[in-house]
């Protein structure tokens, strides 16, 4: 039986090896052309430092707004995850409204840009630090108060709070592909006639570099606990298809193709005749 399989494989190698090679080549090219987009999650301030305790910043009304200034890492941010306390309620129909604004030059902290000279040591450390850490320019936007009127609205989305569990960190996707650079994210809630107590957002007292959290436009001590969600392209079959292409091509090169062999035999017999 084994010999029959071996014989079959060897007899038809001239068919399946070239086909396999071409399939791998197609996979190789296809992997480049159609990459797989995956979510890429980064924890930010999720774990408390020693001595710190998390707390919930509850919304006090529909106008109450929690804001967050940050800078993306050069890629467009696809969304973020925040911890939601539903205060033990179901909150069916209640919506969390989140908006993303782009910060403009007018939002710079003028006290720093006009009056102060950046510390020399700080500049040096920024130069020495690695590229993706060099986001200190955002610090100039972390003023004590923010003025939303001078910002550009990039998008507004809503999330049904009835869909998540109490204490969960649901994924809040940003609809706009342009959520990149220095951005301000605001969170408000819409009760939609629901009389249950208002929800809240998990925070802690940690001071995180290059970000700031605001309540009703005023900077607060402590920050949101959240995850930043980006995406990046992966090429799941690229490695396999390119190495298998080479291996199958090499094996194909060793095949005695019947057409070629017959031609050779005919030429030989002609020469003999």
């Amino acid at each position: 039986m084994l010999n029959k399989i071996k014989h079959f494989l060897s007899k038809y190698a001239y068919i399946y090896l070239p086909i396999g090679t071409l399939l791998c080549l197609a996979g190789f090219i296809g992997s480049y052309l159609f990459p797989n987009e995956v979510l890429d999650t980064y924890k930010v301030n999720v774990t408390e430092e020693e001595g710190d305790m998390e707390f919930v910043q509850y919304f006090t009304g529909a106008e109450n707004e929690i804001g967050y200034i940050m800078e993306t890492d050069g890629r467009a941010m696809k969304g973020f995850q925040i911890g939601i306390s539903k205060n033990g309620q179901a909150l069916e129909g209640t919506e969390l409204v989140y908006r993303v604004y782009a910060l403009n030059d007018e939002n710079r902290n003028h006290a720093l840009t006009e009056g102060e000279v950046p510390n020399e040591n700080e500049e040096l450390s920024n130069e020495e630090s690695f590229d993706n850490n060099n986001v200190s320019e955002i610090d100039e936007y972390l003023a004590e108060e923010v003025d939303i009127s001078s910002m550009t609205l990039l998008g507004e989305e809503v999330y049904d709070l009835g869909a998540c569990l109490d204490g969960q960190y649901p994924y809040l996707p940003f609809g706009n592909e342009l959520c990149t650079g220095k951005i301000y994210i605001t969170l408000t809630y819409r009760a939609n006639g629901n009389t249950e107590p208002a929800p809240g957002i998990f925070m802690n007292h940690s001071e995180i570099l290059h970000v700031a959290t605001y309540v009703d436009g005023k900077k607060m001590d402590g920050n949101l606990k959240c995850y930043y969600i980006y995406t990046h392209d992966t090429y799941p079959f690229l490695y396999d298809s390119r190495v298998m292409f080479c291996i199958l091509l090499a094996a194909t090169a060793c095949v005695a193709f019947p057409a070629y062999s017959k031609k050779k035999e005919v030429t030989k017999s002609d020469e003999e005749n």
Binding site: L9, S10, A13, L17, V38, L39, D40, T41, S129, F130, D131, N132, N133, V135, S136, L209, H210, Y230, H232, T234, Y235, P236, L238, Y239, D240, R242, V243, F245, C246, I247, L248, L249, A250, A251, T252, A253, C254, V255, A256, F257, Y260
Partner: protein, 706 residues
């Protein structure tokens, strides 16, 4: 029929003899013992069976500072350096933090604060003590030192045993008569006399592992010396089966002997990848698995401790006792991760069968071993005339040990061996066309072997030197060689620009500034590359110095090569025994022709190139920038090059004999040797088995299984 009966009787005799040997060698001192065990300082509310009477115990507690070992200090420094890098990455200020029990001396030396309890135990009579067990409810690691006295005379001293807080006990082998014990217990915890329980024992303990060891030893002796011509004829014709049987026996002893002790190279890191891979997209990490991947599972030093540890592991592996951690992963594992499938299969099987945690780890190791045996079996079978050379390399203790551990090096060693066997076959049969199936299998084996260590793919470049007559025509030769270069290029390209296939690693694979082995301080891939490019001559000197220094270490500077990783090594002289055996196996192999001078020279050049690249990769990724020595290169990294090197000696003298009809010494010996029944095969198998069994006995049986 008569011969089969003889073999069956021999096997039965081996089993009986092995059991007798286990009792005589390891239990003869306690066969006539008047007691089994006695417990001291038993509280009134505890089980009073075997409680000792007529004894006195006195204790005294003192404080002291103990300097940390170089290893412990380095571990703290590496951790702090990695924390500093992480803080820098996050843009935070870094301040070194020490454990509360660590004191920094004026000169920067680190000390650990300890409490020392001196225990004086008058046993109230003369006892033969085989084992001493000390139970103490500790929160941190501790240890005790024992001195045994008889008639006020010191009988045995400097007996040390650690106490792991996870099992709250330590057991040590004493093996002498005593009537008084002085015990010094060191710990960071505050203890009183009531927290201590001491137990002495002298009971017969039949170990299946030790009996199996004797059975393997006797079986090997029988096969090599008494099995008869029929068996030896099979050995001569099909040595791959003997390789498989002996490798399974040796590996089985190692797996069973090691239990959950992780003593191979970076075993916990490999365990982590294999364990994760054994799940689909949702990973359930139990507390036991978490301790396994964090390398914090307790280690045992004897069967009694092993029993306590395995019970502890089963307890924390129970999801009802501690809820497992739930994680997620992509359905498509990274390329480098696929090498863990044989181990992952073992973990998966263990979970499905609901076996204990230790058994699950052993199944994972067994998966690795079986995969190794399967691939090398095929390599031995495929070797044309030099099967025993391949079998000898396959049975090398280093290889068997790695194959019996949680490590991807098994696949590197096995697949490169198979790939190179097929390559040597092509070189030795220069008149035959290369078959598509051989070309596929050879390159596939090289590719799989290089998944985790891509630099070895350079070995396959020897195929570039195959003559034109090996191919169908000129075009097929050009296509084959271009595809080979493409394969090499793609695999090497992946070292510098790996293809990300899963989320979360984007920042790492796209940021060369962070590349560098974090087990060492001061590493930076980009920084080191810059240094090498700026100082090419200095680097050439560093490279050659390091390469020849390692060669000298293993040949003249008395450094052992044959090792069982962190369990220890064989004597340095075994290096030379192995070198001699390698040459013997190559020179007297039953091949029809030799490789030729040109191919031989090219092979040595390839070997040199691969070694230089291995050293260079360690310099770039593992060695601090500008260091005058290359760090981290281990002897095992050249194991895949043994066959290429020894293949140059295959068929020595044959070409000269064919041309001049003059038989050289080697050719004459080869012909005489072939007359005797499988003596060539028996010598090689005998030496490999003797070395492996000796190492297993000394490094695994005597060290942690007595």
């Amino acid at each position: 029929m008569k011969k089969t009966k003889r073999h069956i009787i021999a096997v039965l005799l081996i089993i009986v003899l092995a059991s007798l040997l286990e009792i005589v060698v390891f239990n003869r001192d306690v066969i006539n013992s008047p007691y089994t065990f006695l417990r001291f300082n038993v509280a009134d509310n505890e089980d009073q069976t075997h409680a000792a009477s007529g004894y006195t115990m006195q204790t005294e507690v003192v404080d002291y500072l103990s300097p940390l070992t170089e290893e412990e200090t380095n571990e703290i420094k590496v951790r702090q350096d990695n924390e500093r890098i992480l803080a820098e990455y996050r843009g935070e200020e870094y301040k070194p933090v020490y454990d509360e029990n660590i004191v920094v001396g004026d000169d920067g030396t680190l000390y650990r604060k300890f409490k020392q309890m001196d225990i004086s135990l008058d046993l109230g009579g003369d006892y033969y003590i085989k084992k001493l067990k000390l139970e103490a409810g500790l929160d941190t690691f501790g240890g005790f030192l024992v001195e045994a006295y008889r008639d006020d005379q010191l009988v045995k001293d400097n007996m040390y045993c650690s106490v792991d807080p996870k099992i709250d006990a330590g057991v040590m082998y004493v093996g002498c008569h005593a009537d008084h014990l002085k015990i010094v217990l060191s710990s960071e915890d505050i203890l009183s006399q009531d927290d201590i329980r001491i137990e002495i024992s002298a009971q017969v303990n039949f170990s299946l592992l030790r009996a199996s060891f004797f059975a393997v030893l006797l079986f090997a002796i029988y096969v090599l010396f008494f099995a008869g011509k029929e068996i030896w004829s099979v050995l001569h014709k099909k040595p791959e089966w003997f390789f498989a049987i002996f490798a399974l026996m040796l590996g089985g002893l190692i797996i069973e002997g090691l239990g959950t002790n992780m003593v191979s190279y970076d075993e916990y890191a490999h365990a982590k990848s294999a364990y994760k891979l054994s799940f689909g997209t949702t990973i359930e990490t139990t507390e036991a698995a978490m301790q396994m991947v964090g390398n914090t599972l307790p280690y045992f030093n004897n069967p009694e401790e092993r029993e306590l540890i395995e019970a502890y592991e089963d307890m924390i592996n129970d999801p009802d006792y501690i809820a497992p951690d739930i994680g997620h992963q992509t359905r498509l594992p990274r390329t480098e991760t696929r090498v863990y499938y044989p181990m992952a299969a073992g973990f998966y099987l263990g979970r499905v069968l609901h076996v204990g945690f230790a058994d699950m780890m052993e199944l994972a190791r067994l998966g690795n071993l079986l995969c190794y045996i399967f691939i090398v079996f095929f390599a031995v079978k495929k070797a044309k005339g030099y099967q025993m050379l391949v079998a000898a390399i396959g049975l090398l203790p280093n290889n068997i040990f790695v194959a019996s551990s949680l490590s991807y090096d098994m696949l590197v060693n096995a697949c490169l061996l198979l790939g190179y066997v097929l390559l040597v076959n092509e070189i030795l049969t220069s008149d035959e066309k290369i078959k598509p199936s051989n070309a596929f299998l050879m390159l596939f084996a090289f590719m799989v072997g290089c998944l985790s260590k891509p630099v070895y793919i350079i070995m396959s470049l020897m195929l570039l030197f195959l003559p034109k007559k090996k191919f169908q025509n000129r075009i097929s030769e050009v296509v084959f060689k271009a595809a080979l270069l493409g394969l090499n290029g793609f695999m090497l390209y992946n070292i510098f620009f790996p293809t990300p296939v899963a989320g979360g690693d984007y920042a790492l694979v796209t940021n060369n500034a962070y590349a560098g082995d974090k087990r060492n301080i001061g590493t930076s891939t980009m920084g080191q590359l810059k240094y090498v490019l700026e100082n090419p001559l200095t680097y050439a000197k560093i490279l050659l110095d390091s390469m020849f220094s390692m060669l000298a270490d293993y040949t003249v500077r008395k450094q052992s090569y044959i090792t069982y990783a962190y369990m220890g090594s064989a004597n340095y002289l075994i290096n030379w025994v192995m070198i001699g055996l390698g040459f013997f196996a190559a020179l007297f192999a039953n091949v029809k022709t030799s490789m030729g001078k040109v191919m031989g020279a090219l092979t040595h050049l390839m070997n040199f190139g691969v070694v230089a690249i291995v050293f260079s990769s360690m310099y770039i990724s593992y060695t601090p920038v500008g260091n005058p020595k290359i760090l981290g290169v281990q002897g095992r990294y050249v194991i895949p090059l043994f066959l290429p090197f020894l293949s140059c000696f295959l068929g020595w003298g044959i070409r000269k004999y064919e041309k001049t009809d003059k038989q050289g010494f080697i050719v004459k010996c080869r012909q005489r040797l072939s007359v005797l029944p499988a003596v060539y095969e028996r010598v090689i198998l005998g030496v490999m088995m003797a070395v492996s069994l000796w190492m297993t006995y000394h490094l695994i049986i005597l060290t942690i299984n007595v």
